[in-house]
Homo-oligomer: 149 residues x 2
DNA sequence: TAAGGTTAGACAACTTGGTTGACTACTTTG
DNA sequence: CAAAGTAGTCAACCAAGTTGTCTAACCTTA
């Protein structure tokens, strides 16, 4: 049997490809994974570009590029930080929130199909197992999200 | 709970980082994942550069770069294809096989630690589940291995 | 068996998505 | 209040891929 990381990489790609294909079928412009992860991150909290970079596991400059794109495309906007005049909060626009909602539905469709294929309890075990492992490896301080290839 | 693909990406990175760190601790030059995947691929079969590219999910030109590196570093060598004068078989040298053996031990250490953390049966379920899912998604014809970020 | 289409590999130009480094304006700490 | 640290921006660079082109060899197939 393949080593675990290979299975992870292959499954990641398989799911990502399907996600991407379906977005295109529907005609929604397929952003890159990083963009989606930013949406998801911003949904839960207010964050600066630096925060986003940290979450993605890239430099603040790389994060700034992504934020710029999302801004140009109308998915996020910047608002002044209430107390720190250097900083800006990046926040989702309605368009951004809509995209996220749509993507989330698509993900849960895909997860449902996975459950059909290998069993709902197996999917649950996988999710819990990986979550537990991640918690075990680096307690509370989440690492970068980006896989390094 | 996070969507499955995020968990996959994060776990992939977490394991990869540990692998990388330990290789460095030991002083072994840390190749990139792609190199390791090539070793693993060549262990099982004879392959040309084109085959390798297909396996990795990249163009033959990209595969050629990787093979060139491995050649320069002494991990593989090229030998003439017995019947096709255009083609070359890429084969592992002893150095390549040794590296692979070492890496495999390291991977199984890491997998053992994962089993300690979340339970041996959970790891087994994860491996079987992902394998089954991959088989379900694209029957026998394996797709590229590289995660797209 | 010659002709037309395909393929392995090499070379070059380019694109993408990141990096490092430097700098300004502002903030925090001692 | 001075010194150190931080958010964001700009610019130069880099790594790892891509596309496109070419040659030599291969594979029909008529």
């Amino acid at each position: 049997m393949e080593p675990v990381p290979m299975l992870l990489a292959m499954t990641y790609r398989a799911m990502g490809d399907q996600f991407h294909d379906r977005l295109r079928q529907i005609g929604l412009e397929p952003l890159r994974p990083a963009h989606g992860y930013v949406f998801r991150f911003l949904k839960e909290r207010r964050a600066t570009t630096v925060d986003i970079g940290q979450h993605l596991g890239v430099t603040k400059q790389a994060a700034a590029k992504i934020v710029n794109e999302l801004d140009e495309w109308g998915y996020v906007l910047r608002e002044p930080h209430p107390t720190d005049k250097r900083a800006q909060y990046v926040t989702l626009t309605t368009k951004g929130r809509d995209y996220l909602k749509f993507a989330d539905n698509l993900w849960s469709d895909l997860e449902g199909e996975m459950a059909e294929a290998i069993g709902e309890d197996t999917v649950a075990t996988i999710k819990q197992g990986l979550t537990a492992y991640l918690r075990h490896v680096h307690g509370e301080d989440q690492p970068g999200l980006r896989p390094v290839w």
